[in-house]
C-alpha cells in the first residue's frame, strides 16, 4: 500500500443464488429484453447524416474571397506545418489582368494535397496566415484508385456557385476583427466588394 487512497473493489465470493447460474442469466435476459423496445442508436448513413461539429476536421477547401479571387499566396507555411508532408505547391507570380483571379501578387500555381498521406490534424488550417485553407465538416470521398486521392486545385478551390461557409471555424475575435475598422481597410485594398 503506497497511499491511503486505495479501495479494495473486488468481491469474488459467490452467493448461493449466483452459484445457481440461472438468476443472473434471467436478470441479464431481462436487461436485453428491455432494450428491444428502445430507440435504436443507429444513424442510417447515406440517407441520414450525423451532424458534425462545426470545427470538424475533414475535407480541405481553398477559399476564395467574395470577388472570387483565390486567397492563397503560396507562402508555403501549410506545407511546412504538415506533419505528414502531404502538401505540395508551386508558386507563381500574378500577371497583370489576373487581379480578379488571385488576391495577392503571388499565388499557388499548383497546390496538391495527397489525401492518402493527410492525417487531418488541422495544423495547415492553423498555420495559414491568409485564411486561405480551411478544413470542412465533409469527409473525403472514397475512390478505387490511388491517383484520385491527390487533390489538385480543381478539387480544393471552392466553387463560387457552391461556396462553403467556414465562419463557424473562426473564433468570435476574428469575426469582430473583420467587422472592425482595420478590416474595412483590408477589404478596401483587396476586396472592394466586401468580404464574406
Amino acid at each position: 500500500m503506497l497511499t491511503n487512497r486505495s479501495k479494495q473493489v473486488v468481491k469474488r465470493e459467490m452467493s448461493l443464488a449466483e452459484k445457481l447460474y440461472l438468476p443472473a442469466i434471467f436478470s441479464g435476459m431481462a436487461i436485453t429484453f428491455k432494450h428491444m423496445f428502445k430507440k435504436p442508436a443507429t444513424v442510417k448513413y447515406p440517407e441520414e447524416k450525423r451532424e458534425m461539429a462545426p470545427i470538424y476536421r475533414g475535407h480541405h477547401v481553398l477559399k476564395r474571397d467574395n470577388a472570387g479571387a483565390e486567397r492563397c499566396t503560396a507562402c508555403g507555411l501549410c506545407a511546412v506545418a504538415c506533419p505528414a508532408e502531404a502538401i505540395t505547391m508551386d508558386a507563381a507570380e500574378r500577371k497583370p489582368g489576373e487581379e480578379l483571379l488571385y488576391r495577392e501578387e503571388k499565388y499557388a500555381a499548383k497546390y496538391e494535397i495527397n489525401m492518402l498521406r493527410c492525417i487531418f490534424c488541422g495544423l495547415c488550417e492553423e498555420a495559414c496566415p491568409k485564411e486561405a485553407i480551411f478544413l470542412t465538416d465533409t469527409i473525403v470521398n472514397p475512390e478505387y484508385a490511388r491517383a484520385g486521392f491527390i487533390y489538385g486545385k480543381d478539387k480544393l478551390v471552392e466553387r463560387m456557385d457552391a461556396r462553403i461557409d467556414v465562419s463557424k471555424r473562426q473564433t468570435a475575435d476574428v469575426a469582430m476583427f473583420k467587422m472592425g475598422e482595420s478590416a474595412a481597410k483590408h477589404n478596401q485594398l483587396y476586396n472592394p466588394k466586401g468580404e464574406q
Binding site: L2, G76, V80, T88, M89, D90
Partner: protein, 172 residues
C-alpha cells in the same frame, strides 16, 4: 517534487554510493526534477543492484531504459539510460552508462528487473547495443534480416532518393 526532496534524494544517493567499495567518485547532476549519475559500464550493474537493494534508496522499480546516440562524443558514443523509481517515496533518478561505437556492450539488468528484457531489446534493435548476461537479449521489433540500426544518428529520416513527393520548392 520540490527542490528539497531532490536534495534529500541526492544525499541518500551519496550515502548509498559511498557504501559501495572500489567505486570511483560519481558526480551527481540535477536535471529538472531528476538527479542524474553516470556510471562506467563495468560498474553499472553493481550500482543498479545497490540502488535497488539498499533499504534507504529503495529504487525498486525500473521505469524505463533506453539507448541514446551521441556521435560527437568520441569514445562514448552510445549511452544507456536507466530510470529508477522508488514507489514509496516517489523519488526518481536516472543512471547513465556509456560505451564506444566499436564495443557497445553493456551488462544486462534483466536479472534485476524482468522488465528490462524488451526495453533492452529495443535498444538492440535501434542502436545496435549488446547486452551481456542472462537471458540472451535479442532483437524484438525489427525484421531478423535487417543489418543496420536505424535510430543511430547517421541514418537520415528520409531517403534522398525519394521520388514520390515532389518537394523541390518547399522541401525540408
Amino acid at each position: 517534487m520540490s527542490q528539497v526532496d531532490i536534495l534529500q534524494t541526492v544525499d541518500k544517493l551519496k550515502r548509498c554510493l559511498q557504501d559501495l567499495k572500489g567505486l570511483p567518485p560519481i558526480e551527481i547532476k540535477i536535471e529538472y526534477d531528476f538527479p542524474e549519475i553516470t556510471v562506467s559500464r563495468d560498474q553499472v550493474y553493481r550500482v543498479l543492484q545497490a540502488l535497488k537493494e539498499n533499504k534507504e534508496t529503495g529504487f525498486t522499480f525500473l521505469t524505463t531504459l533506453c539507448g541514446i546516440h551521441f556521435p560527437e562524443k568520441e569514445g562514448n558514443e552510445f549511452w544507456v539510460m536507466y530510470q529508477l523509481h522508488n514507489l514509496f517515496t516517489n523519488e526518481r533518478i536516472r543512471v547513465y552508462s556509456s560505451a564506444s561505437v566499436g564495443d557497445p556492450v553493456f551488462a544486462s539488468v534483466t536479472p534485476l528487473w524482468a522488465a528490462a528484457n524488451w526495453m533492452g531489446g529495443e535498444a538492440i534493435d535501434f542502436y545496435g547495443l549488446q547486452f551481456e548476461g542472462p537471458p540472451n537479449l535479442t532483437r524484438i521489433l525489427n525484421a531478423d534480416e535487417m543489418d543496420y540500426h536505424p535510430m543511430r544518428k547517421e541514418y537520415k529520416l528520409e531517403d534522398d532518393s525519394r521520388t514520390d513527393k515532389d518537394d523541390t520548392y518547399f522541401g525540408r
